[in-house]
């Protein structure tokens, strides 16, 4: 189906067109969500929410971007909103446990244990560590790096989704790599030198 025809039909809430869109993008959206939230249940829930949002906001789609950019943009925004909410809840939990005088929660180290199903066996441990360290990056760097690494997107595609220039994406990618190198350096120094 041609993109223009698909958009026109989606704007008319055509069910077959919507089914076609879901089938075309479900793995892409799910994979992106998995990369951001590192949890299959949450990723599936977010994927459903993304398509519900796409369906509900399709009427206001102005065709300045491609349908792919539109879907990915909603997916990224949903994932970021979810992560922000999760962070707030964690902060509140830590604060409440501090009030109760229970410090155990803050002392527990997070072990990178999420295994992406698409990673080959010998790389699974490293990939889990990398995904965990990516979570510590500033939001915009994380978005650019995740879309590049998990969806194999070009800088141009990332720029369209993030609504920034290509040079800004390049800068974000460079800084993300530098930060990850520093974080991994600190991590491996603990194990290799000791």
């Amino acid at each position: 189906m041609q993109e223009k025809t698909l958009i026109d039909k989606l704007k008319q809430a055509d069910q077959q067109a919507f089914r076609y869109l879901v089938e075309q993008y479900q793995d892409k959206v799910f994979n992106t969500c998995v990369g951001f939230v590192r949890n299959f249940t949450d990723a599936e829930d977010l994927t459903q929410e993304v398509f519900v949002k796409v369906y509900q906001t399709m009427a206001s789609f102005r065709e300045e971007a491609s349908i792919s950019t539109f879907v990915y943009r909603i997916a990224v925004n949903e994932c970021l909103a979810f992560l922000r909410k999760q962070k707030r809840q964690k902060r509140l939990g830590a604060w409440l446990s501090w009030l109760k005088g229970d410090d155990t929660e803050t002392m527990v180290q997070q072990v990178p244990d999420f295994v992406h199903p698409g990673v080959i066996l010998e790389n699974q441990e490293r990939a889990a560590l990398l995904l965990a360290k990516m979570q510590e990056l500033p939001e915009r760097q994380r978005v650019a790096f995740t879309l590049h690494k998990l969806e194999g997107m070009s800088h141009q595609e990332i720029a369209a989704i993030m609504q920034i220039s290509v040079s800004a994406v390049e800068s974000l990618m460079t800084r993300a790599k530098q930060q990850l190198q520093q974080k991994l350096q600190a991590y491996y120094s603990l194990f290799i030198e000791s």
């Binding site: 879901v22 793995d27 799910f30 990723a43 199903p117 698409g118 490293r126 190198q181 350096q185 290799i192």
Partner: protein
């Protein structure tokens, strides 16, 4: 140090050539279900201003009902006292036999 640098590079490239994670095969059905739920009206939705107006009206009516009942009970008590006085039925503190 060389070991660490190697480890870092290997880790940074560990996601290269990654295969996409597959979505649930029943995803479309779940989305349709969610959309149907979102479209089902939960009841009559009134604008917030109208809801506030109705709440204020209920509170005013309650207050008015309580106030008018209190006034009525006061006036009937006064009437009873006046009637009792006119019939010489009132008791003073020190006269049990008027």
């Amino acid at each position: 140090m060389k070991n660490i640098e190697e480890e870092i590079q290997k880790t940074l490239h560990s996601l290269d050539g990654l295969e996409r994670a597959k979505a649930n095969p029943f995803l479309y059905a779940k989305i349709r279900h969610r959309l149907a739920e979102a479209q089902t009206p939960l009841g009559i939705r009134l604008p917030v201003s109208l809801q506030l107006g109705m709440l204020t009206l209920v509170l005013v009516l309650n207050f008015w009902t309580i106030a008018s009942n209190w006034q009525k009970s006061q006036s009937s008590a006064n009437n009873a006292t006046t009637f009792a006085e006119s019939m010489g039925l009132t008791l003073t503190d020190n006269s049990f036999y008027p």
